[in-house]
């Protein structure tokens, strides 16, 4: 069953006279599927992800979530920002609780859930600290915890690992992938924007490769390699080369 369908999305920024950013993009994600969007920088990936999230209205086309149109951010779809986007004036636990803002839970229940997920992301000891003392990797873990604390069905991630060192990135990637593939948990789909081909091939069931200006879908590539994927594997390397070939003009 399709979780998210992106149907004929077009987008032009109103203020820039007819600079078409996204032309006609369609793809979908299935249950327990990890889908990546990859393309040259400035091609409109972040814009597309924000359209999917309901943050920006498309000029034409539709976003569907289990068949229902998404016109504004909804509870089941969560978001991980590129720069973690924590609120500097809130402690880490309060930042995670922001993810529960729209729920009716009592404050002590919110606290319990937030503490649990912070522990899962190995942030115990930093619950009551402010984000400014955390490293970039820890900040992003709080950002992911905030996105997952409400048990969303879908998370959208905008280059979530691009500013982390490789070791931190690797463990966080696994955490997200395991959350998705674990069928006892609520998460049904992940859409990730990235420009890192290896990362995309390691994680994705499906890669949407975009072209530049205005961006169009060049190809939607399925990756059938079994998880966990080994970057030194011959098939892995072959897939990486294929994606690279598609990306170069």
């Amino acid at each position: 069953m399709e979780v998210i369908s992106v149907a004929n999305i077009k987008f032009t920024f109103e203020d820039k006279a007819s600079a078409k950013i996204i032309d006609d993009i369609s793809f979908s994600t299935g249950e327990y599927e990890f889908v990546s969007i990859i393309g040259p920088s400035g091609c409109g990936k972040s814009t597309l992800l924000r359209i999917i999230a309901g943050l920006i209205a498309p000029t034409a086309g539709k976003i569907l979530y289990y068949g229902n149109a998404v016109t504004e951010p909804i509870k089941d779809i969560s978001f991980v920002f590129q720069d973690s986007a924590l609120l500097p004036w809130l402690t880490n636990i309060e930042n995670v609780k922001i993810g529960l803002s729209s729920t009716d839970l009592k404050d002590n229940v919110k606290n319990k859930k937030a503490l649990e997920i912070l522990k899962r992301f190995e942030l115990n000891g930093f619950e009551y600290a402010y984000p400014n003392i955390l490293s970039g990797g820890m900040k992003q873990r709080v950002g992911v915890a905030r996105a997952l604390v409400s048990d969303p069905k879908v998370i959208l991630m905008d280059e979530p690992f691009s500013s982390l060192d490789e070791l931190t990135a690797r463990s966080l990637r696994n955490e997200v992938l395991n959350t998705l593939k674990d069928k006892s948990l609520s998460l049904m789909s992940v859409i990730m924007v990235s420009h890192n081909v290896e990362e995309v091939v390691e994680l994705s069931d499906k890669v949407v490769i975009l072209s530049n200006k205005p961006s169009l879908v060049k190809e939607i590539k399925k990756i059938d390699l079994p998880y966990p994927r080994n970057r030194h594997d011959k098939d892995f390397q072959k897939t990486v080369d294929e994606v690279f070939a598609k990306l170069s003009p």
Binding site: R50, A53, L55, E72, P73, K75, S78, F79, F81, D83, A85, L87, P88, W89, L90, E94, I98, G99, S101, S102, Y130, N132, R146, S150
Partner: protein, 516 residues
């Protein structure tokens, strides 16, 4: 209709007089800020002394020193020249601080390669000034001009109005006209004068400032934020380039440039040093007067202490009462503009145009309408002097974090009380604090016109509060009581410095330690 023409011509002439003062002050400020700014940035010891002093000076109620300055300057330079010199130097002291910091910042952030290059090629000091430092300062200087001009206009009008209080100290200018026309209830001419004044404001911005901008931006270096598309009315933009905000913004966005690290490294030391210097200056002025005058000057000063401190207490209540109203208005208005409306830019433009018209042009009409209610006039003047600083400071400070906050808020559907508690109020806190510091300083500044107003034609007291520091300063001036003036200033300055150390610095440091 025809009968209006001579009056309009004379208003135009008077406005020109005022503008001559403004332009002279601006020219002097440009020269001084280039000299001091470049000096402070390039000469280590000079910078270490000058930067903290300026930091203190910009929070002092310089306008309150005006009566004292008039007294001293007119004593040295009698007559119309003296009073004009006093007005112009007052305007300079209001314009100067953020301009100096603009230049200082420009030189501090100058690419090292450029300086090294001039050394390698053996370029002399004068050539280096002419070909490198001055041109490199111009873009930032030009960014500061509008804020300086707006503040200068406030001081111009205020000092002119103030000078009308006493025929001996009267100048010719639009502020004087506004005061006379307003207080005599001559609404037609008052309206015409107001239109002329606003016309001058708008024309100056569109001609002089745009020309300077254009000229200065020719020298803009790669990587400089020249903000070409920013409106000329964009006071919030100017405010966020003032030094207080500059520091905050750096800590806010985590960008540590050389200036903040060099300033903050010795922050504590420099700050104390600055206060020490200010203290010494005040003490030596006091001592000079003491030693030159009669031997019982000290006991004379002491005998005024009680009246000074009670007056200060009364004004303190007024200033802070008005500030509470400022908060009650500014917080919802800024939160609405920053977080809720889609037409933020239209509101901003509206505010910027409004704010570029000094609140004091409305004073005469307030005095006329509220003749028997000195408290109401004082409250209104305090309120109007402070409100824009808070609004613009908040709007400017949230500009840099806005996009993320907005998206986080929407994605996690943060609404209602939670949004106010966890987002809006906390997000505006740094801007609120810097705004509050400047707003309170502006309110204290306005005390000499807020609390006491006399007609220069009759000398009659038009409005007056019961007791207050502004009133005390004014009456001290009119009666030529130097000791009273001095003790009043010392009390006021001491209170402001203590308040800065005890309240603002602590709050500020606490907030910046989290908002990195």
């Amino acid at each position: 209709m025809l009968s209006l023409i001579p009056e309009i011509l004379s208003l135009l002439l008077d406005t020109s007089y005022s503008w001559v003062r403004m332009l002279l002050a601006l020219a002097a400020s440009i020269v001084i800020s280039l000299a001091v700014g470049i000096g402070a940035a390039r000469l280590k010891t000079f910078g270490k002394i000058v930067v903290p002093i300026i930091d203190v000076l910009q929070t002092l109620p310089i306008l309150a020193f005006f009566p004292f300055a008039i007294y001293v300057v007119v004593f040295i330079l009698p007559g119309i020249i003296g009073i004009n010199a006093a007005v112009i130097s007052l305007i300079i002291t209001s314009m100067l601080w953020n301009m100096i910091f603009g230049v200082y910042e420009a030189i501090k952030t100058l690419p090292v390669e450029l300086v090294e290059m001039t050394k390698l090629y053996g370029v002399g000091t004068f050539e280096r000034l002419k070909r490198l430092y001055i041109p490199a300062s111009l873009p930032r200087l030009s960014e500061q001009l509008s804020l300086s001009w707006a503040i200068g206009l406030f001081y111009l009008v205020t000092s002119e109005i103030f000078s009308t209080g006493n025929a001996n100290y009267s100048v010719q200018g639009i502020g004087v006209d506004l005061a006379q026309l307003g207080t005599s209830g001559n609404f037609l001419y008052y309206g015409i004068a107001l239109v002329i004044f606003i016309g001058f404001v708008v024309i100056t911005r569109l001609t002089l400032f745009s020309a300077f901008d254009k000229m200065a931006n020719r020298y803009s270096l790669v990587g400089y934020d020249t903000n070409k598309h920013k409106s000329r009315f964009n006071i919030s933009y100017r405010i966020d380039h003032s030094i207080m905000f500059h520091k905050l913004k750096q800590e806010y966005t985590g960008i540590k440039t050389s200036i903040s690290s060099s300033v903050s490294k010795h922050k504590e030391f420099l700050r104390k040093f600055g206060y020490l210097i200010a203290g010494i200056v005040i003490a030596s002025v006091a001592f000079l007067i003491y030693s030159n005058a009669n031997p019982n000057a000290l006991s004379q000063l002491g005998s005024y202490e009680w009246i000074a401190i009670t007056s200060l207490a009364a004004s303190f209540l007024r200033v802070w009462g008005a500030f509470l109203l400022v908060l009650a208005v500014a917080i919802p208005v800024s939160v609405y503009v920053v977080f809720m409306t889609k037409r933020k830019n239209s509101y901003l433009l509206g505010f910027q145009i409004l704010a570029s018209i000094p609140a004091t042009v409305l004073l005469p009409i307030m005095v006329f309408e509220l003749r028997n209610n000195g408290e109401a006039v004082a409250f209104m003047v305090y309120f109007l002097s402070g409100i824009w600083y808070v609004i613009f400071s908040i709007i400017a400070s949230t500009k840099y974090v806005k996009l993320n906050i907005d998206e986080v808020k929407k994605i996690f559907r943060v609404k209602g009380l939670i949004a106010w508690r966890k987002i809006y109020l906390l997000a505006i806190l740094p801007g609120l604090i810097t705004g509050a510091v400047t707003a309170i300083a502006a309110e204290w500044n306005a005390s000499i016109i807020a609390e006491y107003f006399i007609s220069n034609s009759t000398g009659a007291v038009l409005t007056s509060v019961g007791t207050g520091i502004g009133k005390l300063l004014d009456t001290a001036l009119y009666s030529g009581n130097l000791y009273l003036m001095l003790i009043t200033l010392i009390n006021m300055t001491a209170m402001i410095i203590i308040f800065n150390i005890v309240v603002w610095r602590r709050l500020y440091d606490k907030v910046t330690s989290v908002y990195t």
